[in-house]
């Protein structure tokens, strides 16, 4: 029996016995969901047994179903399990961090699939919200933005838009 892991024993500890490998993990680093997820990926080729050797610790014992498993193969299994644990823990963290976004997107998709609002819903809708501020006039159409405003604008050369007047006050050709 020998320790095979390169990680700190406080985090992950692997022991290879004659025909089984045990990996003990700290539950504060690897949540139980990650342990279950990692253990489940081995259930088709190994006999998996979970136990709790101490508080906030989980020991995963894998016994390969094939009998001709040498020590190097057991070391590979231990390494695979540790990789899988890390992957599952990382995925669990991503899901936890993005839960609000996922829920918002899902809610939006479901509400969109529910179809257009009814007349009653439109009647109840609050339209009192003020329009957004647009100091640069980004939301205006070209016609609204450059329409002739008075006799001064009418005196300008044809095709020259007010916006084409440069900083010196000279009218440009309207293309630059």
């Amino acid at each position: 029996m020998g320790q095979v892991t390169g990680m700190s024993a406080a985090m992950v500890e692997s022991l290879v016995s004659e025909h089984a490998v045990s990996v003990t993990v700290d539950e504060t680093l690897y949540p139980l969901d990650a342990v279950y997820g990692a253990a489940f990926t081995f259930i088709d080729r190994c006999y998996v047994l979970l136990d709790r050797p101490g508080a906030a610790q989980v020991r995963i014992t894998l016994t390969p179903k094939s009998l001709d498993t040498g020590e190097s193969a057991l070391r590979d299994v231990a390494g695979e399990l540790e990789n899988e644990l890390l992957s599952c823990a990382w995925r669990a963290q991503i899901v936890r961090e993005n839960r609000a976004v996922i829920e918002a997107v899902t809610l939006k998709a479901i509400s969109g699939a529910m179809g257009p609002p009814t007349l009653d819903e439109l009647e109840d809708f609050d339209f009192t919200e003020e329009a957004f501020e647009d100091p640069l006039g980004i939301g205006l159409s070209w016609e609204e933005k450059y329409k002739k405003k008075g006799p001064e604008a009418a005196a300008a050369p044809a095709g020259a838009a007010p916006a084409a007047v440069d900083a010196t006050g000279q009218a440009g050709d309207g293309q630059g």
Binding site: Y47, L49, R52
Partner: protein, 81 residues
């Protein structure tokens, strides 16, 4: 004769019972609960059968436990299974 100890924080009690029911035809299985473990005493007249049943039963109970947790997480619940 062989004792299989399954920690009750890691294995759902209902999953253990269901696994026992599935493998009861292959060996004689008796369950007793200690403080934190369910202890399954597995006996079979055939050589090696008890160990094989213990390992398969452990896998089955773990699979059911994980499935049950997934169902709970997705709001389907584990009742009736």
């Amino acid at each position: 004769m062989l004792d299989l100890r399954l920690h009750l924080e890691l294995y759902a009690s209902a999953a253990i019972d269901r696994a026992i029911a599935v493998y009861a035809g292959h060996a004689q299985i008796a369950r007793t609960d200690e403080a934190a473990h369910a202890v399954l005493r597995i006996e079979s007249p055939r050589a090696g059968r008890a160990a094989l049943v213990a390992r398969e039963l452990g896998n089955y109970a773990l699979g059911l436990t994980i499935q049950e947790r997934g169902d709970v997480a997705q709001g389907r619940g584990g009742a009736g299974r």
